[in-house]
Amino acid sequence: MTLRELIDKLLGRQPASADTAKQRLRLVLAHDRSDLNPELLEQMRREILEVVNRYVEIDLEEGDVSLATEDRVTALVANLPIRRARIPEPELNMAAGTPEEDSEGVATLG
C-alpha cells in the first residue's frame, strides 16, 4: 500500500484511477488472451473444485480459480485453501497395500 492509497482510504476517497485501470486491464486481457468465455471458465471452475474436493476437503467459499496474465503468458491460477485430506477410500488403501493404518485416517493440512 502506498501513502496515497492509505490517505485515500482514511478520507474515504476513491483510489487513483490509474490503479483501477491497471487492474481492469489485467483481468480483461487475461480473458482476451485465453479466448475463454466467462461461461466456460465458470464451468471449468466448478469441475476443478469438484475433482479437488474428492481428494481433500476444501473451503468452497474461499476457493478461487481465475486467469492471470503476465509477460503475455496466461495462467490458470487456483487458490484452494485445504481444510484437511479426505479419509482414504478402502479400495485405495488396498491398492496401496500399506499394512500400517493411520489411527484416524485424516491428515490435517493446517
Binding site: 500500500m1 502506498t2 501513502l3 496515497r4 484511477s17 490509474a18 488472451r33 503475455r72
Partner: protein, 272 residues
C-alpha cells in the same frame, strides 16, 4: 540498397486515432533527415491521410493501384518530399481496391519499394481485419502505437497477438499522448504499467503536444523543423533508437521538479 538490408516496419495500433499516421509522417521525415532513404507507404486505403500530413496531397499523380496494375512504374507513383528528398510517399489507391487487394499484393509493393529505400514504413489502418492483415503481410517488424488508456491498450494487445502469430518481430512500443501531470497524480496509466501489461520494449514516449495539431494544419511534420517541441524531440528520438543509437528514455512524469512533484513521489512510497 537491396531488399535484404531494407527494414519493413509496420506502424499499427488496433484502435483508431491513437497517432499512427502522425508517427509515420514524423518518423519518415526524421529518418530521412538522419540520412536514411525512407519510403512511407499509405496502407490505409479506406481513409488515406498520410499524404495530407506530409503536405503532399496536391502532388499525387499515380498510386499503389496503378503500380500493381502495371500501368505505371513505381518511380512515377512515388512522391518525393521537396525539403527532404530522402523521403518518398507511395500513396494509397482508391478505397475500392479493398475489394480485391490481397496480402500478396502488399508484399509485392513493399518488396519493390524496398529495392530503393533503406526504410519502408507502412501506415496501417485501424482494426484487425482485412486491411490491417494486408498491411501486416508487407512487414517484417512492427511499431505498436498506443495511448495510456484502457481501450487503446486492450486493442494494442489484440494486435500484438496477431503480430506474434505471424512471426513479425521485433515489435516495439510507442506510447503517445502522454500527460506527465496526470501520470504523476496517478490519474493516467503509468509508462511502466503499459509496458508491463503489453510486455513490449519501449521505443518512444510522445507527450500530448498542441504543436502536433499546428503541424498537421500546415502539412509540415514537426520533425521537419528544429522547433524543439516535446513531440518533435520524441519523434526524432524514436528515429535514432530505430537506427540503433542508445538514446535514453526519460519518463516525463518522473522528471518533474518542484515541491508538487516531490510530494507526488512521496505519495507513491510503499509504506507496507
Amino acid at each position: 540498397m537491396t531488399a535484404q538490408s531494407s527494414r519493413f516496419i509496420l506502424i499499427c495500433s488496433g484502435k483508431g486515432g491513437v497517432g499512427k499516421t502522425t508517427l509515420t509522417a514524423n518518423l519518415g521525415i526524421a529518418l530521412a533527415r538522419l540520412g536514411a532513404t525512407t519510403a512511407v507507404l499509405d496502407a490505409d486505403f479506406g481513409l488515406r491521410n498520410l499524404d495530407l500530413l506530409l503536405g503532399l496531397e496536391n502532388r499525387i499523380v499515380y498510386t499503389a493501384q496503378e503500380v500493381l496494375a502495371g500501368s505505371c512504374r513505381l518511380e512515377q507513383a512515388l512522391v518525393k518530399h521537396k525539403q527532404e528528398p530522402n523521403l518518398a510517399l507511395l500513396p494509397a489507391g482508391n478505397p475500392r481496391m479493398l475489394e480485391w487487394l490481397k496480402p500478396e499484393d502488399m508484399r509485392q509493393i513493399a518488396t519493390m519499394v524496398g529495392e530503393q529505400f533503406e526504410y519502408v514504413l507502412i501506415d496501417a489502418p485501424a482494426g484487425i481485419e482485412g486491411g490491417f492483415r494486408n498491411a501486416m503481410a508487407a512487414a517484417t517488424e512492427a511499431i505498436v502505437v498506443t495511448t495510456p488508456e484502457v481501450s487503446a491498450v486492450r486493442d494494442a494487445d489484440r494486435v500484438i497477438g496477431l503480430l506474434n502469430s505471424e512471426g513479425v518481430k521485433p515489435i516495439q512500443l510507442v506510447l503517445n499522448r502522454v500527460r506527465p501531470k496526470m501520470m504523476a497524480s496517478q490519474e493516467m496509466l503509468a509508462v511502466d504499467d503499459v509496458t508491463d501489461i503489453l510486455a513490449l520494449p519501449l521505443l518512444g514516449l510522445v507527450q500530448e503536444d498542441e504543436q502536433v495539431i499546428v503541424s498537421t494544419n500546415r502539412g509540415e511534420p514537426l520533425t521537419l523543423g528544429d522547433s524543439g517541441s516535446p513531440a518533435a524531440r520524441a519523434y526524432t528520438n524514436v528515429a535514432r533508437r530505430l537506427r540503433g543509437e542508445a538514446v535514453p528514455l526519460i519518463d516525463p512524469s518522473k522528471e518533474r521538479q518542484g515541491l508538487r512533484a516531490r510530494i507526488g513521489r512521496l505519495m507513491q512510497t510503499k509504506i507496507f
